[in-house]
Structures are given as structure tokens and as C-alpha cells.
Amino acid sequence: MEEKQVLVRIEDLCKYFRLSSKEELKAVDHVSFDIFRNETVGIVGESGCGKTTLGRTVLGLYPATSGRVLFDGMDVHSAGKREMREFKKRAQIMLQDPYASLNPRMTVRDIIAEGLETRGNFSKAEKDERVCELLSLVGLRPEYRSRYPHEFSGGQRQRIGIARTLAVEPEFIVCDEPISALDVSIQAQIVNLFGELKEKLGLTYLFIAHDLSMVRHISDRVGVMYLGMMAEMADSRELYENPRHPYTKALLSAIPSTDPDQPMSGRRIRMEGEVGSPVNPPAGCRFASRCPWATDRCRKEMPLLRQVAPGHFCACHLEERQGT
């Protein structure tokens, strides 16, 4: 296996939002992991678990409360203006909502050209040519470039968004739930497009989603987040076949089976109780209130993310005991 090169290193990253003088929303709490070059890391978790905040903080769109994000050795959050400009050429974001992410008063050409402009000055003809190339790259007709976003369907709009992101020619793209607002049939198209582009352009993705089967399809490694913390992270095959964290097990058991002869293989793990609040998180394991196997230790002591198998990280006290 070839030597893996770390492109993005996330070290102990925290992002808290101050709600009032006493309350803090811990959206991302001590998250650390690496993203290797030409790899897709999927992040899953339920709504409000901090996936989006994680993605935006990694890109420096939100200032970090503590911790570091190293992109190719450069600290994103302490970068100067010039470094930041360079960083933005190399790292980009794909947004979730194809309806809100395109300015309704700009033509498709101008939208894509906005990404192009970050690469330097182009003449009008060069711009036009590049826009056409990008449109065909994402599977849209170049003739569409003088239209406005409202003339397109959701999937087409998302492709326009992809073209804008690609215009920058980034190496690393944070895909912030780029498929969740789309129809299932379109989702597959877009996910395949992401895969193709990765091969063609050698991209690295941080792919945020809440659809487990889609993430499995596209990701090399998958991280599961719960209330701002990384619960488990492993190669996607390992994670789906051999989940260790009770939360991951519960999530996976909730995926409906597509085979009518084998409805819901295995038993369904039902989660009890409410999702805790990230505003005042419990002292122990964040998942303890819903975990069917929670012990007293879980409620008192925060489990740390530790390696339970080669390349398989899990933050659970129970796992620790089994491992030793």
C-alpha cells in the first residue's frame, strides 16, 4: 500500500457558540482526525451533532474556539491574509441547499466565473470558454450558461454549485450535505459525479451527510459524530461490518433493508430517551442517556477516542474493557 500523505490534520478542534454569559453551545468538542490526500472521509451523525460546524470550522469560515486545523502544514486559523487567499484556492466548500446557494440574480456564467476569478484575471472570452468546459464537466450543456438559477431543477442547480467550486481548482472540498436536499434518483447521480471528479481531478473530500448508505458508497473512511464529539471512526468497510460504538450500532441497525427476503437483518437496536443538548452536555459519555448498555462509569467519566483495532477508533468505555 502506498504511503499515505496527510493533507488535513485536525487537532483537538473545538468550536463553541456563546449563547449568553453562562451558556455555551459546544457544537464541535475536541475532535481530532487526519484526512489523507485523495481520500474521502465521510462524517455522519444526526441533525445538530455539529457536522456542518465541523466542516465550516475546518475551512476557517468559523473561527475555532481552540485546537488547530493544519492544511498541508499550514495552520488555517492563524493564517495571514495572503496565506488565507492561497488556502481558499486549495480548499473549497460545497453547500447543502441548491436553492439558497446560488444568487438568483446572477446568470450561471457569472456564478461560475465568481469561482474562476479567484484564480486570477481572465479575459471575457477565456472566462466564457472555461465556464463551458466546467459545465460539460459536471454534465450540463454549455448553452445553459446565460440562464438564471431559477430555471433549473435541484439536481441541475447542485451541478452548477459543483462547477463553481471546481472553477477554483481546489484540492480539498468540504461537501456539506450536498445531496440531502435532492431526490433519491438525483442523489445517486450527484454522488457518482463526485466519485468521477475525484478520480479525474485527484480531489480529497470531507463528505458530510446523514444518509449512511450513501456515505458508505463514497467514503474511504467514515466518522460518526454524536453531540459534537467523534464517537467512532474507521475504514468504511470496517465501520459498517464491525461497528464498535453502541451509537454506530444503533444507527446501522436503523438502515432499512433493500432486500425484501431479508427484512432488517439482525435485530434493531432501539435508542431510548432524548438526544441530549449540546448547550449543557452531561459530564460523562454524551451518549449515556440513550445507550442501552450504559454503566455508572459512562455517566461520570468521558470516554476518549482510542484505537480498538488497526485504523479503528472508538470512544466507548465498554469497548475499552473488551479490548484489554
Binding site: R56, L59, L61, M84, R85, K88, K89, Q92, I93, L95, Q96, D97, A100, S101, L102, N103, P104, R105, M106, T107, R109, D110, E114, G115, E117, T118, D128, R141, E143, R145, S146, R147, Y148, H150, G161, R164, V168
Partner: protein, 314 residues
Amino acid sequence: MEIKTIEELACIPVENDDFAAASDQDEGDVILRPSLNYWQDAWRRLRKNPVAILAIVMLAALAVMCVVGPGMTGYDYDAVSLSEKNALPSSDHWFGTDKMGRDLFTRVWIGGRISMILGIAGAAIDMLIGVVYGGVAAYFGGKTDAIMMRIVEILASIPYLLLVVLVSLIVGKGVGSLLIAMCLTGWCHMARLVRGQVLQLKDQEYLLAAKALGTPWYKVIFRHLIPNTLGVVIVAVTFDVPSFIFGEAFLSYIGLGVQAPMTSWGSLASNAQQTMAFYPYQLFFPAFFIALTMLSFQLLGDGLRDALDPKLRQ
């Protein structure tokens, strides 16, 4: 040939081309549009709107008449002629004369200058200050926004008439002081409107995308914020122009505005109103032109708002 039965239909020879697969790139399907940017496209849409074009033509005609009108009859706007008091419209005096025998045609266009300048300048100043102020408040948000909006509220709560009296005491009576006094608080509602609009835009994801792309702030403002607030601003401006013209009329009526023998549409109308029962034409002409100007501005504003919204393009 006419086909009547199935048998006849079966007899028609089938050419193989009829069943050939459609080509992937169906030429007829490709609709090419001229390559235009947003502003060119807006202008193209505006030109297609006959009502808006009519409004532009009317406004242009009014403007031209304000420039050349006073010179057309050979009468001075302040030349008093006691022998021709309250004359009916005739070939000598096209719009008749007022109670001092002054030619109304000349006076209407002299007054038109004041009213049009006041309306347009006032609305432009309101728009400029309001857009910048409201935009800045919303863009920076938080404490800046809170402080700036409290200032607006305090300004807006000062009685308008009090302000006009104070300014005319300091600056002196006339068009200038009128403009200052009316603009001093007039921009507040525009600032509020723009702030509301920008606050709404601020959370749009395309601004986040622009931030991630590293688009410089001035491009964010000119490309994203201004085009998306323009619709609201234009509607507000088209209401602002008439309000300035009416405001001037009212202030002239109570003696704070334009001083005689200089005149404006507002003061012409208010003078004529006293003798309306006897000389209705004295009221008709200034009132007609006020109404025409207002209508034109509103129609133009309507057309502009539609032209600036690509969703309404046919």
C-alpha cells in the same frame, strides 16, 4: 392525403428515417440566448415593457419642457400684468393667467423645475444615505446594528415640521433649506427597509459560498447585496419622489417653502385652490402635471422592479 380507415393507414409506406433514434444533441432544442450580464439583461427586459417605456418618455418630455418651457411664450414668470388678471387659457396665455396676471404656462414649467429637482434630488439623497446606513448596520450586525438603529429611531421621532422650521431659521428659507430639512430625517425609512433586506440576505448560502471563494467585500456588495436589495429600494424611491413633491407643496402652503415670486407645482396648486370655484383651470394645470409625474415615476418603478427580477423574464 386523407386517411379514413385503419386499412388505408397501413398502406402508407414507412420510411426508415421516421423511426431513427433522436440524436443526442437535438439541434432544435438548443435555445441560445445572447450573452449578457445582469444589468444588460435587465435593460433588455425593461425595453420590452411598453408601460415602462411610456413612463420614461413622459418623464423625459416633462424634463425637456421644464428646461425649454419657460422660454416658449416670451412672458417672464414674474411679469405682473394687471390688465390680464385671471385670464382664461387662450392663444396669448396657453394655460391662462393667475390673479396677478402672470402667465401660467411659464409659471407651471418654472415651478416644474423646482418640484422635479426637489423630488429627484431628495429621493436620491434619501436612497444614498439610507442604503449605505442600512447596509452597514445589517452587514456588521450585533452592537453596531443596535446602536445605529437606535439613532434612526431617535431621528425619526423628531417632528418633521419642527425640523423644517429650525433649518429654515438657520439656513434661511428656500429650496436648499427645504431639501436639507426633508432629507435630514427622510432617509430613516429607507435605512430600515435596506437593513431588513440585507439581514435576510446575510444568511443566504450564496454569501457563505462567496466568502469561501474569497470574493472581496466590494464585489460581495456590488454583486450580491445590491442587486438583491434593489427591488425593495426602487419601490421605496418611487414613493419617495411624490412624497417630496407633496411635502414641498405643503410647506410652501404654510409659507416655509419656496418664496414668491418663485414658484413650484405645489405652491401653484395651493394658490389656485383658494379660487378653485371660479378659476378651476388655475388648479387643473399644476395638479395635472403633479399627477402625471407621479404616475410616470410609479409606472417606471414598477417596470424597473420587474426588469431587475430575472424570475419574471419571459
